[in-house]
């Protein structure tokens, strides 16, 4: 792979705190290597800002290998940037060429308030999980693992949905800021396993109720979420969620 260096113009959203108004600021960055990762380009810029006595840009990141789900930049109008099945931390600068202008914003959603600059508060996702995204089994209660037979296809499908990293790109991409892809991945992961059976109804109803309470929007099936999902979670999960929800609603025991 041939390496090259480039000069770029960055337009980055700066916002001091949750209640601050915020605005774009423009930065010129020079001699960026095509071998750098996108976040390493931000590291370079931040080192320079600190040297100049300015406030560096706050952004979330941790594992930098696409699995922890912490990084969250909205790059040129697309969560996690131009590559498919990719997170921001995996994006590398060879995706750009000399002279490009790149606009970087935080996730925008009512349920993801900005904390600072590009950092947002995604604890609403944790609260959705608290509403039922688990199987109620205390430590020590389990039977031998091989007593539960699960057909390979179903286990694989469950796994594909459990691969969600909870980054929130689906919400950021959605014009309604809907969390349906995230929620449906969790409901599907558990509904497809026999262990998830006993709580299937309450899980679907309670998690959807919590999603609404957090201020996420409704789903209108545009498919933007699926297109940007770094783990390629399928939109068919939303259909499954709708099925699970209606099934639970129509057959729920009345008290």
């Amino acid at each position: 792979m041939e390496h090259y260096n480039m000069n770029l113009t960055l337009k980055v959203w700066r916002q001091k705190s949750r209640n601050d108004e915020g605005a774009f600021e423009t930065y010129e960055v020079k001699d960026i290597s095509s071998e750098m990762s996108f976040l390493e380009m931000f590291d370079v810029l931040n080192e320079r800002l600190i040297a100049e006595g300015k406030d560096p840009i706050a952004f979330d990141h941790d594992c930098r290998e696409g699995i922890c789900g912490m990084c969250s930049m909205y790059i040129n109008g697309r969560p996690h940037g131009p590559w498919t099945a990719n997170t921001t931390c995996q994006l590398h600068m060879r995706a750009y060429k000399d002279g490009d202008t790149i606009t970087v914003e935080p996730w925008r959603a009512k349920a993801f308030p900005v904390v600072k600059d590009l950092v947002v508060d995604r604890t609403s996702f944790d609260r959705i999980v608290q509403a039922g995204g688990y199987i109620s089994v205390n430590t020590g209660n389990a039977q031998d693992a091989n007593n539960i037979l699960i057909p390979k296809d179903e286990a694989d499908l469950s796994f594909a949905n459990a691969a969600c990293i909870g980054c929130g790109a689906c919400v950021a991409a959605c014009k309604n800021s809907s969390a349906m892809l995230f929620l449906s991945a969790k409901v599907s992961h558990l509904a497809l396993l026999p262990q998830g059976g006993p709580e299937r109804k309450s899980r679907a109803i309670n998690m959807v109720a919590q999603m609404d309470k957090e201020g996420f929007g409704a789903c209108t099936n545009t498919g933007a979420c699926e297109a940007v999902c770094p783990k390629e979670i399928s939109i068919t999960n939303i259909a499954r969620l709708n099925y699970e929800y209606q099934r639970a609603g129509y057959t729920a025991e009345t008290e």
Binding site: D43, K54, H61, C63, I67, M70, K116, G140, F159, A162
Partner: protein
């Protein structure tokens, strides 16, 4: 001499059963009055917090990330070991115990390791019950693979994302306890001090990383589950935020730090591409099952790999270790790569890389496919195409990951790899009950030292984290807290809390007021370079002595010339980082002191002075069959305490892979 408090009752394989039958219990009404603080929400922390919440304790859990689900356990790829013997291939609790002791080069404690092997099967049961989607066979049963050169198939896995799936299982259990009100979660919080009252750990000072404010939290006991310290090397496969701070604060309050120099270097990582490099990415060990590792026979060979003919390639692992070849353990493979690169045979622009080549595997799999499908008159290109499809099926996600980072296609050209820091076997010294030398202060998972000796086997880190959290601490903590049921919650206006908070605040103020000229990152990079060059894959007395002086100097410079922008009472990632790097600077010195003291080679610790004639590691059981536990005695001062390692069952032998 340190007392590990291994239960006296019965032979090794009865000790844990005996302990569980004889330890003190806390009745449910009393559990509700007992508060436990858990630092870190990786596999050890999340499983401990969830399990203790289920038991009825009042738990407070802390993590520095925005959600407990992000802890770095999530990045573990390969798998988790368990002695289930589902494959009928001769596995047993004893074999897992023995492999772990031997793999650790006889520097781990028998009692703890045997218990680990005993509970390993329960972990798999528990995880499956939680809905962890492990890989399965067509009959619906769990699938296993062999991993890290073991002779049995005992590794359970979920594609290349085992850590993620296990952590999400623990995270979901934790969230359930949060919803039930048994656990209170504090995300974006960092523990910055342990509060000691009457010689016991009674709480913490934490900083809210959003507001920058300091908080006081009381606990009858404190559990550190804060992971390893590989980031002392700056470049490692750890997450950017992984740090030693919680463990280090505990160390400075009296918890001994054991075997700090025991670090694991993973042989197959993507090499450094330039000065901008912020972290390194691991390529799963499983690749060595099919890839062949080589360098050119000619020094400074700049030809493309495809242009180097077969007889001009040096498959150095196959040459040096004919019996194990490319599958030698991690420490051996790492040192061999370093040896070739240091001698001038490295590849790529940096010359700090070797090739991991799949061409032979593609050819071999292609030929197998031809045979399987009974094809005739197949062109060489067709064979390669068939072979590539098989390789894609096995390693597709890893190949994609490699291509994303390097821009090179590993189906066409060999991967370039180089060893990188991956895991730390050292950590806070704990006894059989996982208690540190500070009463009421426990340490679980990678943060403690107990189970992996001088080298950890593949797929054993996940096992240990979950064993400690799900199946050990729920018993051992009761033995301590049962004597504490009369202790009421101590109000956080107690002078010890005030004093501890003041010390933290003073330290932060001091850091912010340096207003020097160099960034935190620049100090971290310099520390990492010293550590990697002189306390990395190979160590010698001269280099270690130099490193100690250099680190002391660097620490002075840090405390007089670091520049931290922004303010204290706001979100300030540079300040967070400064707090962590300040602790790494002190840890780095202790690691070098420990490495200097241990004048033997064992596991991941290679002292150049202690090697055989053909350059292999030479252990010295006569003089070093002990755990070195260091007590902090003041700036740059430590006192070593020994715990002699006694091997009653697994008798030490020399490892050989020739």
């Amino acid at each position: 001499m340190l007392d590990a408090k291994i239960p006296a009752g019965g032979p090794l394989d009865q000790k844990w059963t005996w302990y569980k039958g004889h330890c003190n219990l806390v009745n449910p009404a009393n559990k509700r009055k007992l508060e436990v603080i858990v630092i870190g929400t990786g596999l050890a922390g999340a499983s401990a917090a969830a399990s203790l919440g289920e038991l009825g304790y009042k738990v407070k859990a802390f993590c520095f990330q925005d959600s407990p689900r992000r802890a770095h356990s999530i990045a573990a790829q390969g798998g988790i070991n368990a002695a289930k013997n589902y494959q009928n291939d001769g596995d047993s609790v004893f074999r897992l115990f023995y492999d772990t002791i031997k793999g650790g080069d006889y520097r781990a404690r028998e009692g703890n390791v045997h218990r680990l092997a005993e509970v390993s099967g329960n972990i798999i049961d528990q995880c499956v019950a939680q809905g962890v989607p492990f890989a399965r066979e067509y009959g619906g049963l769990l699938s296993n693979r062999s991993f890290g050169g073991t002779q049995v198939q005992r590794t359970f896995y979920a594609a290349g994302q085992t850590g993620q799936q296990l952590l999400i299982g623990a995270y979901q259990s934790l969230e359930r306890q949060i919803a039930l009100g048994n656990v209170k979660m504090y995300s974006r919080h960092e523990m910055l001090e342990i509060v000691m009252i009457d010689g016991k750990a009674r709480g913490i000072i934490a900083r809210d990383l959003v507001t920058g404010k300091l908080e006081r939290h009381f606990g009858h006991a404190v559990l550190l589950c804060s992971g390893g310290y590989g980031n002392v090397f700056y470049l490692s496969t750890n997450a950017m935020g992984s740090n030693v701070t919680a463990a280090w604060k505990a160390h400075k309050r009296g918890a001994y730090f054991a075997n700090p120099c025991f670090t694991q270097i993973h042989p197959t990582c993507i090499p450094v591409s330039g000065d901008h490099q912020s972290k390194l990415t691991l390529m799963s060990e499983s690749l060595r099952n099919d890839g062949r590792i080589w360098v050119p026979k000619k020094k400074d060979d700049t030809r493309k790999p495809a242009d180097i003919p077969e007889d001009e390639r040096d498959y150095y692992l196959e040459r040096r270790y004919p019996a194990f070849g490319n599958l030698v353990p991690r420490d051996v493979a790492s040192r061999a790569a370093k040896e070739r690169c240091d001698a001038g045979y490295g590849v790529g622009t940096s010359k700090q890389a070797v090739y991991l080549d799949f061409a032979a595997a593609i050819q071999r799999y292609g030929e197998i496919e031809v045979g399987k499908h009974g094809l005739a008159n197949v062109s060489p290109e067709e064979i390669i195409k068939l072979g590539k499809a098989v390789v894609k099926e096995k390693y597709g996600n890893l190949f994609d990951m490699y291509e994303k980072i390097t821009g090179e296609n590993p189906y066409e050209t060999p991967m370039r790899i180089y060893p990188a820091i991956h895991y730390t076997m050292g950590g806070l010294w704990v006894d059989y009950e996982l208690m540190t030398t500070v009463p009421g202060l426990y340490c679980l998972g990678e943060a403690n030292f107990s189970d992996h000796g001088a080298n950890r086997l593949g797929a054993s880190a996940l096992m240990q984290g979950l064993a400690d959290g799900y199946f050990v601490i729920p018993y051992t903590i009761g033995n301590y807290l049962s004597k504490d049921i009369a202790t009421r919650s101590i109000p956080t206006d107690h002078p010890a809390f005030q004093q501890a908070e003041k010390e933290v605040a003073d330290r932060i103020n001091q850091l912010m007021n340096i207003k020097g000229s160099k960034t935190v990152e620049s100090f971290h990079k310099r520390l990492g370079k010293i550590m990697w060059d002189k306390c990395g894959m190979a160590r010698n007395a001269k280099g270690l002595q130099e490193a100690i002086t250099e680190i002391q100097q660097l620490k002075k410079e840090f405390w007089s010339d670091v520049r931290i922008p922004g303010a204290i009472e706001e979100m300030n990632p540079e300040l967070d980082k400064a707090n962590r790097v300040a602790d790494f600077l002190e840890l780095g010195e202790l690691m070098c002191i420990d490495a200097l003291n241990r004048n033997e080679s064992c596991g991941g610790h290679f002292r150049e002075e202690s090697q055989t004639e053909d350059g292999e590691a030479k252990r010295d059981d006569q003089n070093f069959q002990y755990v070195a536990a260091w007590e902090f005695k003041g700036d740059h001062q430590w006192e070593m305490h020994k715990e002699d390692l006694i091997f009653e069952v697994a008798k030490p032998t020399q490892r050989s892979y020739k």
